[in-house]
Amino acid sequence: MQGPLFDSFAGRGLSRRGFLKYCATLASLLALPPSAGRAMAEALAAARRPSVIWLPFQECTGCTESITRSHTPTIEGMIFDMVSLDYQETLMAAAGHQAEQALAKAVEDNKGKFLLIVDGSVATGLEGAYSCIAGKTNLALLKELAPHAAAIVAMGSCASYGGIPKANPNPTGAVAVSDIVKDKPIVNIPGCPPIPVVMTAVLAHFLTFGRLPELDRLGRPKAFYGETIHDRCYRRPFYDQGKFAKTFDDEGARNGWCLFELGCKGPVTYNACAHVKWNDHTSWPVESGHGCLGCSEPDFWDAGSFYKALSMPANPLKTVVPAAAVGVAAGVAVTWYNRSHKAAARKAHETAGVADLEK
C-alpha cells in the first residue's frame, strides 16, 4: 500500500495545479511563509505514506467523529492518500484478532517511524483496569507502543490534559498522555472535539517536514492556538463598546452582541474556532449564539459554570455567613476580655493621698 503520494493523487484525477493549491492552503493555515507551500508540495509528492496507529483510550469517539468531518483535506484523502492508517478501531473493517494482528504488524514493520495518535485519557486507577482493549490496559498499551513511535499526537482535550474523565473527582485516575510518556515528541491538539482541519494540518506538517510544528508551552501548535477566541471573535467590537447580551433571547442576543456576561470563556481560551470555523467553514459556537465553553483549555470542566461570566465568583459564597458568625463571636469575646480587664483595673485602683506623695 505504500508509495509516492503524488502517484496516488494523480491516479485519483488530481491535477498538478490542484495539488499545489492544496499545499498552499495547508501552508497558509499553518501560518508558514508562501515558499513553504512549494516545499510542502515537493515533500508530499515524493513522500512515502507513513504508518499511523490510532489508539482510542478513555474517550467518547467525538474526536474520531470530528476528524471524519474534516474537509481540507478530507478524511478519505488522509486515510487513502497521505497516511497509511493501519489501526483505528472505529474506522477499520477488521475486528477482534484481525485488528490486533494489524496493530502488531504495523508496529513491527514501522518501528521508530510510525505516528502514534491517542484520543482519550489514560486511566491509572486500579493499575489502569478501568479501560482495556483486547485484555490490555490502555496504560500498558501506551507504554508498550510509545517507545517505538516517531512522535505522538494527543488528539482532543482528554489525551492532551485528561479532559472530562479527569474532572473532579476523577474516579479512574485519568491522566494525559504527556503525564505517562516523557521521552517522545508529543503534540497536543486539545478541543472537545478538536477542529478537524487542525488535526489534519498537523498531520500534513509532520508528513512534509518529518517533524512536529512549532509548539507553545502547553504542547499545542502555535499556528492554531496562538491567540484567544476573544481576540479573533467577530463579536469583539461589541465587547469593546460594552454591548452585552443579557439573556439568550433578548435584543442584545438578536443583535449579535458580546456573550461575555452569558458566561463566554473566549477571553481565556486559545483555539482557532473564531477564524477557521467548523463544518467546512460554515459556523462556530459563538456565531450560533452560544458562548465558548473553553473546551480546549486544561480542566475546563472544573472551571465553574459555563453560564457565569468570567469576572463572577465561580462558587456561591457558602462560607461568608459562618465567617460573620465567627466574627461576632470573636468581637464579643474580645469585648468581654476588655471589659473584665477594665473592671479589674478599676477594682485594683487605690486612691493616693498627700501622705503617699511624700513617701
Binding site: 484567544t228 481576540d231 481565556v268 459564597l317 462560607t319 459562618p322 474580645v334
Partner: protein, 219 residues
C-alpha cells in the same frame, strides 16, 4: 498549575477564603470598637451632639487653614486617589456585575474609556504620594512597615486591573487571575491594618464632633 486553574482557584476557593476573612475581621473589629463603651455622662448636653458630629465629618475632610499650602501633595494626591479608587471600584461595569452576583444589588456604571482615564490618574496619584513619602525626610521617618505594605496592596489591584483590561505584558487569563488575587490580598489585609479606616474614619470623626458639642465646644 496552568493559568486557567489559577483563575478558577481565584474565582472560587480563593475568593471564598478572602471574603470570609474580610467579613470575619470587619465584624470582629467593629464589635470590639463599639463594645469598648464609654462611661455614662451625667452632665447635661451643652449643645446638640448630632449637628456638631456631622459638621466635624465635613470639616475634617477639608484641609485646615495653612496646611494645604504646606503639603499640597498630601491633600491633592490623597483626594485624587481616594476618589479614583471609589470610582474604579464601584462604577466599573464588571465590578458592578460582581457585586450583583454576590448580593443582588446593581446600579449604572460609567463608560469604560472614562474608567480607563480615572485608573491612570489614580495610579499616577498613588505613585506621587509614594514618591512624596520617600523623599520627604519627616514622612519617611514616620513611615513603618504597615505604611509601605498598605500602599502596595492598594496599588496592586489597580495596576493588575488596568493591565488585564488593556491585555498588556501577560495573557489575559493570567492577568485576570493576578487581579482577583491582588484584590483578595487587599480584602484579607484591610480589617487588620490602617486600611480599616474605610469603616471607621467617618464614625470616629462624628464621635469626636459629637462629644465636643456635648461638652460645649461646638464646631
Amino acid at each position: 498549575m496552568t493559568e486557567l486553574q489559577l483563575l478558577t482557584w481565584a474565582r472560587g476557593t480563593g475568593l471564598n477564603i478572602a471574603l470570609s476573612i474580610f467579613v470575619l475581621g470587619v465584624i470582629w473589629r467593629l464589635v470590639e470598637i463599639y463594645g469598648l463603651g464609654r462611661k455614662q455622662d451625667l452632665a447635661p448636653a451643652r449643645h446638640r451632639d448630632g449637628a456638631s458630629g456631622w459638621n466635624t465629618i465635613l470639616r475634617r475632610s477639608l484641609a485646615p487653614p495653612g496646611l494645604f499650602k504646606r503639603s499640597p501633595i498630601t491633600y491633592i494626591g490623597g483626594y485624587v486617589f481616594h476618589l479614583g479608587l471609589a470610582i474604579v471600584v464601584f462604577l466599573f461595569a464588571p465590578h458592578i456585575k460582581l457585586i450583583q452576583g454576590l448580593v443582588g444589588l446593581s446600579w449604572p456604571g460609567l463608560p469604560s474609556q472614562l474608567i480607563d482615564l480615572v485608573t491612570v490618574v489614580t495610579l499616577a496619584a498613588l505613585l506621587v504620594v509614594l514618591w512624596d513619602r520617600i523623599v520627604k525626610p519627616v514622612k519617611r521617618y514616620l513611615s513603618n512597615f504597615e505604611d509601605w505594605i498598605t500602599w502596595l496592596v492598594t496599588f496592586l489591584p489597580v495596576l493588575t486591573g488596568y493591565l488585564a483590561v488593556k491585555h498588556l505584558f501577560l495573557p489575559y487569563t493570567t492577568l485576570l487571575a493576578l487581579h482577583i488575587l491582588s484584590a483578595e490580598l487587599l480584602l484579607v489585609v484591610l480589617p487588620f491594618t490602617k486600611l480599616f479606616h474605610a469603616f471607621t474614619s467617618f464614625g470616629s470623626r462624628w464621635y469626636n464632633g459629637a462629644i465636643n458639642g456635648h461638652r460645649g465646644v461646638p464646631t
